[in-house]
Subunit: 901 residues, 2 copies
C-alpha cells in the first residue's frame, strides 16, 4: 500500500521523513502541522489510534505532531528475535527532529524541552491492553528547563516522578508497590492527604528515592538519556504484544489475524504553562438534550488530570470566548469541521499551550436517548445527514429509556440484590407477603410490592393489586414472570440472593432485615432490588421521536405487531404503532381471579361430561375477552394462541386452596390433591402442554375456537372489521396440526354458517419445536401462517431450561463460552439455521405462507435484523418495544440495501 | 396390463372365460384346476387375496376353483353410480359354469349343489375391514340336496341359517341382534348350551324364524334365487369399499392410492362329507423348535369350525398317511412345493372332500425365536436359501427372547398393573418397601422386589439387594430406571396404577391389597406387574444361533459396541460379540454406596478447596473403576463419558439422610438442606448438567480425566493394550467443547509425560443437543469422534420430556398422531435429519471423524438400518441387545446392497 502512495517528497520537509522508502517498505508515518502521511482507512497498518490521529491531522486540525511506527514493524521485531530493524532508528530520529521543528523545542534539552508520549495501538481496540509511557524525554536537565519555562517546578518534578514509575512498570515490568509505598510514607511524614499538597522540593527528594528503588529492582540505573528512554519504550510496546495477558485477551475475545501493534510517538503539550494555556473537554451538541449548542468545560492553566482531580471547578466553554478568544475561535472551527466530517456529534479533548490550540482526541459523543433522537432528526433538517443516515444514527436499544417509566438516573440507589429481569418497568412500594395483604393495603391506597418465594394462581389478586412483584425462586417463564409480563407489571423473579420468609413476614437481603410495610424498589429491566423509595420518571414522547418513527415506517419492510392479551395492552400497542397482535395468550384470561375456579373445575373434572360443563360456563367469558380485543384492534390482525401451559400451572397447591376448590366443585380435598399430584411433571417445559392438551382434551380447544368464532361473528354483526388468526402451539409433527386444524376449521365454519356471517380468518401454527422447523414443508401444508416462538425454540435447540439457566449462564457469559445470552438476542448461527430452514421449507410448500416471530426476540434489534434478512413478514414484541422494533426494522432494511449495492 | 397378456384362448376352456377381452378390458381372472389367469405380481388389480389364490393355482396346487373380479371394476361400479358394468354379469355366469365343470356340481341345484364364498380383498391388507359371505347358493332346494349328498342334514341346515344371518349383516347392513336373540331363545327353550346340540329339525324351524326377521327388517324376502344372492353379495363388497368405517380406516392408516377392492368368488369345499373327507392345519416345519419335520393336525369328516369348537380332538398329521394315503401324499407334495416356492416355512389350511385334496390357504408360518434361527440356518444348509436370504429371514426383534430370562409363556399370569418397561428382565420376589428391609430379607436368602414411590441415592443398597424394582412415579430416565439399567436389574418404573404407601407398607393395585412379604413378579420388558410367582426360563444359545451370528458378522459393515459401566457388564457384552464400549457412564460409579458420601461432600462443598479435597479422595476410586473396565475390554475401544447428570441427583433428600450427610462432612443439616434446595431445578433435563458442570466446576472433569489417564498408564505398564476414548457430553456450542477438550488433553498429556508412557486415546463429544447437530462442522474441529445421544436428541427435537411423555404418548399412538414411539425407534424424518446433517457437516470439517450412536436406539433394528444408511461407523447398545444389533446391521447392509442394484 505504501509503495502505491505518493511519497511525501513533494511536500515540505518530507524528503527527510519518508522513512523506509529507500528499502521499499515504509515503517513510519508522520502527522502534524495540518497534514499526515496516513489516513483513517489505514487502520491495519497504523492501528486505530494512529489512523485517527492521521485523519485529524489530514483535516488540517492542530494535532500535536508525532509519528506512528506501523504494525508491520511489530512483526519484524518478533521475526528478527526481538530486535528493532536497523533502519528504523534512523527514521525515528529524523521524525523526532521534524516534531522539534514544528513545535520549536528540543528533545532531551532546554530551554524548550520536547517531551513525547509513547503509546500502543492495534487495528482492533483492546481496552485495558493499551501500554502508555508519558513524559518520555525528562531527566534532571530537561526537568529543570521545564520548571523554568512553565514557572511550575512542582509540575515538572511530578512529571519526572511519574515517568520513572510508569517506565518501571511498562518498560521493565517491575512491581511498583515499592514506589507507591515511598509516596505514601512521604505523605505520612509530611502529614498531607493529597499528592497535590506535596511541594516541588518534596517531589525532588521523592525522585531520588524512586531512582534508588528503580536501580535496585531493575539492576540498572534509570536511563538519563532521553533517546535511550524512547528506544526502550518503543521496544516495550512491541514486547507487550506477545505477553501472556495480551495473548489470553486476544484468545478470549476471538481476535485473530492481527500482525501486531503500532507505536504512536507524539509530542506532549501542556495546558498549564500559565494563563494563556488551558485544557478542556467539549461536545459539538448538548449530549443530554440534543440541543444544537456548543457544550463543554475548560480550565485555565491546568492539565487534564487537574480536571479529573476535581480540585478546581471548570468553567462553561462559552466563557472561553472571552478569555482566550483566538483559541476559542479555532476550537469552534475545529468542532464544526469534525461534526461535519464524521456526520455525528463529537466528544473532543483539547489543550491550549501558550495560546496555541491542540486537538488531542475526537470520538463519537455518547448521548441520552432523548438527545440521540433529537440530534438525528435535526441533523437531517440541517441537511447534514440523509434520512437513512439519520435513522442509522439512533441505537434502537436506547429507546427503551423513552418508553418505560424508569428510575431517575440521578437519584441515589442502594442495590440489595439482583434477580432476573422478568418483566420491565420500575416500581417502588411497601413490602407485603400475601395476596390478602396486598389487596388490603392497596385498597387503602398504599403502593405495595408483593414478595413471595414463588407465585401460584392463588396470588393473581395480589399481583393485580401490587405495583411490582418480587420472587426468590423461579425463572423467566415462572408463573410470576409470565403473569407479570401479561399484566405489564414490573417483576423481578428468581432473586435467590433474597430470603423471603412468607410465614415470618421477613425479607433478608445483603445484610438488611426487612419486614411488612418497608419500602423497596424494583427495576424490572435490570433485575435490581433496591432499598427504599427510588423516584421514577416517565419521559414524554417528543415531536422528534414521532418524526423519526414516521421515517422508520417509510423505510421498513417488516411489519411490527405486539404481544398483548388485554384490551388495555392492545390500545397501548396501537398507540405505539403496532400493526396487529402477533401473540394473544389465552391462558392469561384463565388466570383471572373470577375464572380460576371454573378452570380448576374443568381440569379436575372426572370424565368428559363434568369437563364439558365447566367449559360451557367458560365459553361466554372467553368470547367476551376475544370480542373486546378484536374490537380494540379493528382493521388489524389478531393472532390468538390456544391454551399453551401445562394444566398444573392452574391448580391449587396449598392445602387450604385445595380444600376450597374441593368445596367449590363438589369433590373431596383428597381427590383434588390426588389429581394435582398426578399432574406434576419432571420437566414441565417439555411436558403435557400446547397442542398435546388439544389432542388429549379436544373439548378445551373446541371451546376456545368456538369463543373466537362467536366473538368474530358478534363483531361482524356490529360492522367491525376483525381479522382473527387462530394459532395452534407446540406442534412438532404434522399430524398434530392436521388433526387440530381440521377440527378447528369445522367449528369455525359451523359457527359462521349458523350465524349466516363470514369473517376472514386464518389458522396457523407456532414454530417452536425443532422438529417443526425440520419438517416445515409438511407442516405448511396445514398452516396458513407460521409464527416463530423463539423462546421455546431457543430452549430446545440449546437444551437450556430458561428457568434454570441462571445456574450456569453467568459463567458462560463471563468466560465467553457464549458471546451473548441467547434468550436476549437470537442465536443466528444455531437457532437461526432452524428458522431459515423452516422459512425455506414452509414457503416451498405454500408460497404465500405468512411468517412472523412472537418470541421475545421480536423486540431485540439484532434479532429484528435477522428476521428481515430471513424474509419474515413481521415481528411481534411487547407493546413497549414496538417503537424499538419499528426503528430496528428500518435499520435492517437500510443495511440490507447497502449490502446489496 | 391385461391387453398385453396372452389371453387364455389357447388354453383349455379359456375361450369361454376370457371375460372382458371383447371390450379390451379384462374384468375377471379365473383360477383353479392347476392353473390361473392371474399371478402374485398382480396385487394391484386382483388384491392380495386374489393374487395369492392365483399364485397357488399357477403352481399347480389343488385350489378350490373360482375367480377374482378386479379392483378396476370397483372403480367402475362407483363411477357409474353404483351399478355393475353390463358386461360383467355375463362373464360371472360363464365363470361359475366353469367352476361347475371342474367340480362336477351345479350352482343353485342338486344333486351336487355348488356353493360359493364371496370375499373382498384390496391390494393392501386391511384386517377387520374384510367382508365375507359364505354358503352363497343355498336355498330350500339346494339345502336338501346338500343334506342328502353329505348325509348330514344338521350341517346343511346350519349352513343355510348362517347364510341368512351373514347376508343380512354384510349385504343389507341390518342389525343382527334379533337373529342372535332368536337363536338364544331357541337354545333356552331346548335347554341346551351349545349350538351343536341343536338338531337339524330345530335348525329348520330357526331358518323359518330367520326368514321372517329378514323380511321384516329388510323390507324384502330373503332371495331364494342363488344368482340373485351372488349378484347382491358382489355389489355389497364393492359398496363396502366406501362405507364410513372403511374410509376412516384408510385415513387413519394413511392408505392412499388404491382404486378399490377386488371380489373373490370361490367354490366352497366340505371336509365333512364322510370318512373320505377331512380338514386340517399344518406347518412345513415345527414352528416351535424349527425342526425339519412335517407338523400339524387333521380331523376326519369335519369342517374347519369343528376344529375350532374343540369338541373333537384332532389327530397328528402323520396319522393321515395311513387313513387317507392319497390325499396325504398330495399334501406332502404341496407343502414341499410351497416351502420351496416361498423359501420359507408355510402355515397351510386344507380340506379333503371325498378323497380330493384342496389347499385353502398358505402363508408364512409364525414361529418362535428359537425356531426362526434354526430354520434360517438349516434352510441355508439344505441349499434352499442363500446366506443373505437366511439372514433376512430372522426378525432381529425376536432374539430378545433368546437373550433375556423371560417368564414362561405357558405359565398363567394375573396382571395387576402396567408401568414403564424401564429395565428389561423378569423377576419374582417378595414385596419390601425400604432399603433396610430389602437388605435384611435378602441377607436371609429371600428374593425381594423393592417397591417405592420413587428411588433416591439412599436406596442404592436396597436396589442392589433386590431382584427387581417397582416405582409408582418417575419415567424412563428416573433415578430408579437409570440405576437399574446400570445394574442390569429388572425395573418397572412410573407405574401410576399402583398406589405404594411406604409408610403403611401397603401396595394397592387392581383392587388387590398387598403388603410386605407378598409375592409379585415384574416383567421389565413389558412393564407388567403380576400377582404371585410367575416361573421364568433362561434359554440357552444354540449352535444355530452362533452360526447365524457369525454370518451376520461376515456381512455387516457397522461396528457393534455395548453400553456398559461395570467389568461384569463389559464381560457379558464381549461374550455377546461387542467390539468395544460405546458408552461407559461414569456417574453409575458415583451412585455406589461406598462413594456416595464422598460425592455428596464434593457437591456440598463450600468453595473450591473443600471440593478439591473430596475429589482427591474420589480419584483413586474412579481410577480403579477405569482400570478394571479397560482391562476387561483390552484390545477394544472404551468410550468413557464424563459426568452427565445434574448434581441434585446425588444429594440426600430426606431429613435423616441430610442430617447424616451433615455429620459425615462436618457441616450443619440446615446448610445441607439449603444447598440441596438451591440445586433444585424446574426442568432438570435441560438444566445444569453435562459439560455445563464441566465449565462451572472444572475440577470435577479434571479428576475424571486424570483417573482415565492414570488407569491407561497403569494398564500400559502391565502391557495391556487399552484404547480409552474420552467423551464430553451435552455440548451445544463449539466453545464448550474447545474449552474442555483443551483442558482434558493437557491433563492427559501431562499424565503420560510424567509416567513416560504413551497410550493412544481420542477425545470427542456426544451429539445430543440440536444445536450441536446444526453446528457440527464447528464442533468437529475439536472432536475426534461423535457419538449420537439419540435419547436426549429425541427429547429436545420433539420437546418431549421422556419422564412425562406417558401423559400423552399413549393417546398419540392410539390416535396415530405418531406412527411409533420415537424413544423406541428413531424418528428418521425429524431427528434423523439432524443426525444426517451432523454427519455431513462433521465429516466436511474432519474427514476421518469416527461416528457412532449410543442412545437406546442403537439396539433397535429399524434405527440400526438408518445408522447404516447414514454412514455411521458403529452402533452401541445394552449388552443384551448386542446380538440384535449385529443381525440388524447385517440386514441393513444386505438391504442397502439390494437397493443399489
Amino acid at each position: 500500500m505504501a509503495g502505491k502512495r505518493k511519497t511525501g517528497s513533494t511536500r515540505r520537509g518530507a524528503g527527510k521523513a519518508d522513512a523506509g522508502t529507500r528499502t521499499g517498505t515504509r515503517r513510519i508515518w508522520f502527522f502534524g502541522d495540518g497534514r499526515a502521511e496516513g489516513r483513517a482507512a489505514m487502520k491495519d497498518l497504523l492501528g486505530g489510534k494512529g489512523a485517527n490521529l492521521a485523519e485529524m491531522a489530514r483535516l488540517g486540525l492542530p494535532v500535536p505532531p508525532g509519528f506512528t511506527i506501523g504494525t508491520s514493524v511489530c512483526r519484524e521485531y518478533w521475526d528478527e528475535g526481538r530486535r528493532l530493524p536497523d533502519a528504523l532508528w534512523r527514521d525515528v530520529v529524523k521524525s523526532v527532529r521534524r516534531v522539534e521543528r514544528i513545535l520549536g523545542g528540543t528533545f532531551g534539552a532546554g530551554p524548550a524541552p520536547l517531551l513525547v508520549s509513547v503509546r500502543s495501538g492495534a487495528a482492533i481496540s483492546m481496552p485495558g491492553m493499551m501500554e502508555t509511557v508519558l513524559n518520555v524525554g525528562l531527566n534532571a536537565e530537561t526537568r529543570e528547563a521545564l520548571a523554568k519555562r512553565t514557572g511550575n517546578a512542582r509540575m515538572a518534578h511530578d512529571s519526572h516522578r511519574r515517568l520513572i514509575q510508569m517506565f518501571a512498570r511498562v518498560v521493565l515490568d517491575l512491581d511498583i508497590r515499592e514506589f507507591e509505598q515511598a509516596l505514601d510514607s512521604l505523605k505520612a511524614r509530611k502529614g498531607v492527604f493529597d499528592d497535590t499538597e506535596l511541594t516541588a522540593e518534596d517531589l525532588a527528594n521523592l525522585i531520588e528515592t524512586y531512582r534508588e528503588i528503580f536501580a535496585a529492582r531493575a539492576g540498572m540505573p534509570f536511563p538519563e538519556d532521553p533517546w535511550e528512554q524512547l528506544r526502550m519504550a518503543i521496544e516495550a510496546v512491541f514486547r507487550s504484544w506477545n505477553c501472556d495477558r495480551a495473548i489470553r485477551y486476544r484468545e478470549l475475545n476471538k481476535i485473530h489475524g492481527l500482525i501486531g501493534t503500532a507505536v504512536n510517538v507524539q509530542a506532549m503539550v501542556f495546558g498549564n504553562m500559565g494563563d494563556t494555556s488551558a485544557t478542556g473537554v467539549c461536545f459539538t451538541r448538548d449530549p443530554s438534550t440534543g440541543r444544537n449548542v456548543f457544550y463543554g468545560e475548560f480550565l485555565r492553566n491546568a492539565q487534564g488530570e487537574d480536571v479529573v482531580a476535581g480540585i478546581r471547578t471548570p468553567q462553561p466553554i462559552a466563557r472561553m470566548k472571552r478569555v482566550l478568544p483566538e483559541p476559542y475561535a479555532a476550537l469552534v472551527r475545529a468542532k464544526d469541521q469534525l461534526e461535519r466530517h464524521y456526520g455525528d456529534v463529537q466528544d473532543l479533548e483539547f489543550t491550549v499551550q501558550e495560546g496555541r490550540l491542540f486537538m488531542l482526541q475526537t470520538r463519537t459523543g455518547k448521548r441520552t436517548a432523548e438527545a440521540a433522537v433529537r440530534i438525528a432528526v435535526e441533523m437531517f433538517e440541517e441537511g447534514r445527514l440523509g434520512k437513512r443516515d439519520a435513522l442509522m444514527r439512533v441505537d434502537p436499544h436506547v429507546l427503551d429509556q423513552l418508553l418505560h417509566p424508569t428510575f431517575d438516573r440521578k437519584a441515589p440507589r442502594r442495590v440489595l440484590a439482583r434477580g432476573l429481569p422478568a418483566s420491565p418497568g420500575a416500581a417502588s412500594g411497601r413490602i407485603v407477603f400475601t395476596t390478602e395483604d396486598a389487596e388490603e393495603w392497596a385498597a387503602r391506597g398504599e403502593p405495595v410490592i408483593l414478595c413471595r418465594d414463588e407465585t401460584s394462581p392463588e396470588d393473581i389478586g395480589g399481583m393485580h393489586a401490587a405495583r411490582g412483584i418480587l420472587t426468590s425462586r423461579g425463572g423467566m417463564t415462572s408463573h410470576a414472570a409470565v403473569v407479570a409480563r401479561g399484566m405489564g407489571k414490573c417483576c423481578v423473579a428468581g432473586c435467590s440472593a433474597t430470603v423471603i420468609d412468607v410465614h415470618e413476614k421477613a425479607l433478608r437481603a445483603d445484610g438488611q432485615n426487612l419486614g411488612e410495610g418497608d419500602w423497596i424498589s424494583l427495576d424490572g429491566s435490570t433485575g435490581e432490588v433496591m432499598l427504599g423509595q427510588v423516584p421514577t420518571v416517565r419521559p414524554k414522547l417528543s415531536k422528534h421521536f414521532k418524526t423519526l418513527m414516521s421515517w422508520a415506517d417509510e423505510v421498513r419492510r417488516l411489519g411490527v405487531r405486539a404481544n398483548a392479551e388485554t384490551p388495555h395492552d392492545a390500545k397501548v400497542a396501537r398507540g405505539f404503532g403496532a400493526e396487529g397482535i402477533g401473540l394473544c395468550r389465552t391462558e392469561h384470561m384463565f388466570f383471572d381471579e373470577a375464572r380460576i375456579t371454573l378452570v380448576r373445575e374443568m381440569i379436575l373434572a372426572e370424565g368428559a361430561d363434568a369437563r364439558a360443563n365447566a367449559l360451557a360456563r367458560l365459553l361466554p367469558m372467553q368470547q367476551r375477552d376475544f370480542e373486546q380485543i378484536l374490537t380494540a384492534m379493528k382493521g388489524l390482525p389478531v393472532t390468538v394462541r390456544l391454551l399453551d401451559p401445562p394444566l398444573h400451572e392452574f391448580v391449587p397447591l396449598t392445602r387450604e386452596t385445595q380444600r376450597a376448590t374441593a368445596l367449590a366443585i363438589g369433590t373431596s380435598a383428597a381427590a383434588v390433591k390426588r389429581r394435582v399430584e398426578a399432574l406434576r411433571e419432571m420437566n414441565p417445559m417439555m411436558g403435557h402442554r400446547g397442542c398435546r392438551l388439544g389432542i388429549s382434551y379436544p373439548e378445551i380447544y373446541d371451546m376456545q375456537v368456538r369463543a373466537i368464532a362467536r366473538a368474530a361473528v358478534r363483531c361482524a354483526k356490529r360492522k367491525i372489521d376483525v381479522r382473527p388468526e387462530i394459532m395452534i402451539p407446540l406442534v412438532g409433527h404434522v399430524n398434530e396440526l392436521s388433526t387440530l386444524e381440521e377440527r378447528a376449521r369445522r367449528i369455525v365454519e359451523e359457527t359462521f354458517a349458523a350465524a349466516g356471517v363470514k369473517v376472514p380468518y386464518l389458522i396457523g401454527t407456532m414454530i417452536e419445536i425443532p422438529r417443526a422447523a425440520l419438517t416445515a414443508d409438511e407442516i405448511a401444508a396445514h398452516a396458513e401462517f407460521f409464527s416463530f416462538g423463539t423462546n421455546d425454540l431457543t430452549q430446545l435447540t440449546f437444551g437450556f431450561s430458561r428457568d434454570d439457566v441462571n445456574a450456569f449462564l453467568p459463567d458462560y457469559l463471563e468466560q465467553k463460552v457464549l458471546p451473548v445470552d441467547p434468550f436476549q438476542s437470537l442465536d443466528q448461527n444455531g437457532v437461526g439455521q432452524l428458522v431459515e430452514m423452516a422459512i425455506r421449507k414452509g414457503r416451498s410448500a405454500r408460497k404465500k405462507l405468512k411468517i412472523g416471530i412472537c418470541g421475545e426476540h421480536g423486540g431485540d434489534p439484532e434479532s429484528v435484523d435477522f428476521c428481515h434478512r430471513a424474509g419474515m413478514d413481521y415481528v411481534s414484541c411487547s407493546p413497549f418495544r414496538v417503537p424499538i422494533a419499528r426503528l430496528a426494522a428500518a435499520q435492517a432494511a437500510i443495511t440490507a440495501r447497502r449490502k446489496k449495492r
